[in-house]
């Protein structure tokens, strides 16, 4: 909370917002640690927020708007395209996207093009189309404009529920109090998630807060993943032993002579 307040103040100090003391944004998440246990099948977090006005805040002509961007841990993704070679379908072309978000949700209180103009959307990286997705080109990393692979990557990630852009996901309970549901499907990777909430009014950004939450594997799941990644050989011997035991128990249990 303090941090959010400080961030809003810092922004005000930098002149990123109109001169007069603007609104502050205060947000809270229903949970800062999502635990993956053996019966985990996705989870929904709730983001709450309030627009704090003081005596000096100017009167706004329109309502407030909120855009919340939730970004998961970065990963390297490869988008591949199949084409027909000698009568069968083979992956022939591919692009590598470096540091792409493994999860990206853009939740807003209205259509993005209504909330702010195209230039601000690009500058503030608001919305899926304006989120940078750098590609690996030979040994360089850069943005490729109008790359069909970029669009296909976003489409595939959307189909899997990992990327989303929902213009009606943020609802205002009162003119200054809002809430939004962050849907995390079971496939989301573990790690640190950034929640960036921006407050807009009259097409301009007024305030911004940052917070984070973590998705962690705990207990048995964490143990298995650790063992498999860090001690592959030992893990291999352990699973082999498990196979031997199961086979042996079965042969004893079903012995017919």
């Amino acid at each position: 909370m303090k941090r959010a307040f400080a961030a809003a103040l810092a922004l005000a100090g930098l002149g990123a917002v109109p001169a007069a003391a603007a609104e502050h944004l205060i947000t809270a998440l229903s949970d800062h640690r999502v635990l993956i246990t053996s019966n985990y099948s996705g989870v929904e977090l709730v983001l709450f927020g309030s627009v704090e006005r003081d005596d000096e805040s100017p009167l706004r002509k329109g309502p407030y708007d909120i855009v919340a961007t939730i970004t998961g841990p970065r990963e390297t993704l490869r988008a591949r395209r199949k084409s027909r070679v000698l009568g069968i379908w083979v992956n022939t072309r591919a692009r590598t996207f470096v540091d792409a978000p493994s999860y990206l949700a853009v939740l807003a209180s209205g259509p993005l093009e209504v909330i702010t103009n195209a230039e601000d959307r690009r500058r503030l990286q608001v919305g899926l189309t304006d989120t940078p997705l750098p590609e690996l080109i030979h040994n360089d990393i850069g943005q490729v404009a109008n790359d069909p692979f970029r669009g296909e990557l976003i489409r595939l990630m959307r189909e899997r529920g990992l990327y989303s852009e929902e213009p009606n996901a943020v609802t205002f309970l009162t003119p200054t109090l809002f809430r939004a549901a962050i849907k995390l499907p079971a496939e989301v990777p573990i790690g640190n998630y950034q929640v960036d909430v921006k407050l807009f009014a009259e097409g301009k950004m007024l305030a911004r807060t940052d917070s984070t939450f973590d998705i962690v594997k705990v207990g048995f799941e964490q143990f298995v993943v650790n063992a498999a990644q860090e001690h592959g050989l030992l893990y291999g011997f352990a699973t082999a032993l498990m196979a031997l035991l199961t086979g042996w128990i079965a042969s004893v249990a079903f012995r017919r002579d």
Binding site: T37, S38, N39, Y40, S41, G42, P73, R74, E75, T76, L77, R78, A79, R80, K82, S83, R84, G87, I88, W89, V90, N91, T96, V98, S102, F149, E152, L153, R155, L156, A186, E187, P189, G191, K217, F220, E221, V224, V225, A228, Q229, G232, L233, Y235, G236, F237, A238, T239, A240, M242, A243, L244, T246, G247, W248, I249, A250, S251, F254, D257
Partner: protein, 308 residues
Amino acid sequence: MQIFLPIADIPVNVFLVLAMGLAVGFISGMFGIGGGFLMTPLLIFIGVQPAVAVASVTTHVAASSFSGAIAYWRRNALDVTLALTLLAGGIVGSAGGVALFTWLRALDQLDLMIGLSYVTLLGIVGLLMVGESVRAIVRTHFGGPAVLRRPGSHAWFLGLPLKLRFKRSKIYASAIPVLGIGFIIGFLGAIMGIGGGFLLVPMLIYLLRVPTGTVIGTSMVLTFLTMLSATILHAATNHLVDAVLALILMVGGVIGAQFGAHAGQRIRGEWLRLMLGLLVLAVGLRFAFELIVRPEDLYSIRIIGSSP
């Protein structure tokens, strides 16, 4: 009941996976095969990444063939010398297969390779089995002359150097073709996630002339040992073996196999071979269909690694 698979990273229904283990176990017990060629495609079908499916099925097949091998051991129906010679080739084959698997994964062509191997291998083996069993059925029903195997007829490759005596199977043959067969089985097993029982049994009978009394038991021992080494190799190099998935599969598998073995004893051998042949052929066709028909989605994504 949903359970989260730690390595496959997806939640699955325990009862669905258990039922798949039971069904495949039933079939494997009935025909005396490992059942990997059925289990791997089924897992891919329910959403497990092909690489994780292949790696985890090797563990499952190791367990089910181990319980089979113990049963044959008790009946003294296996040839240890033969199994160990095959294994020497098998381990080299497994290592080669795991290496090729890792390389193809990096090239984005692993799924294609798995698909192609299934089509060619299952297509050929399925056709041969169906052909052979139909001829056998026709023969028994219409009383045609049975093809007698001439005793003492030897293929040229059995006369190669490095001769070994396989006492239990009563054969005296060169170790080279035995090692070669072991290599092929180990190699294919690592790439396709199959034990290779349905390949090994005909190879031992027709190529090495191993008597039917020891062939299944020996095949079980080899399957068990190669799958066990493939499990360890996959775990050590690709970190893709999902122990939770493998455990559910093997519990279902070993139970199903017991019922399958009972059912198998009531069916005549040639009908059993015809059914297995048709099953093998069907799985092969399913893979062929996927490669030939234009995919619904030309694009796919794969996670290469997480950023620091």
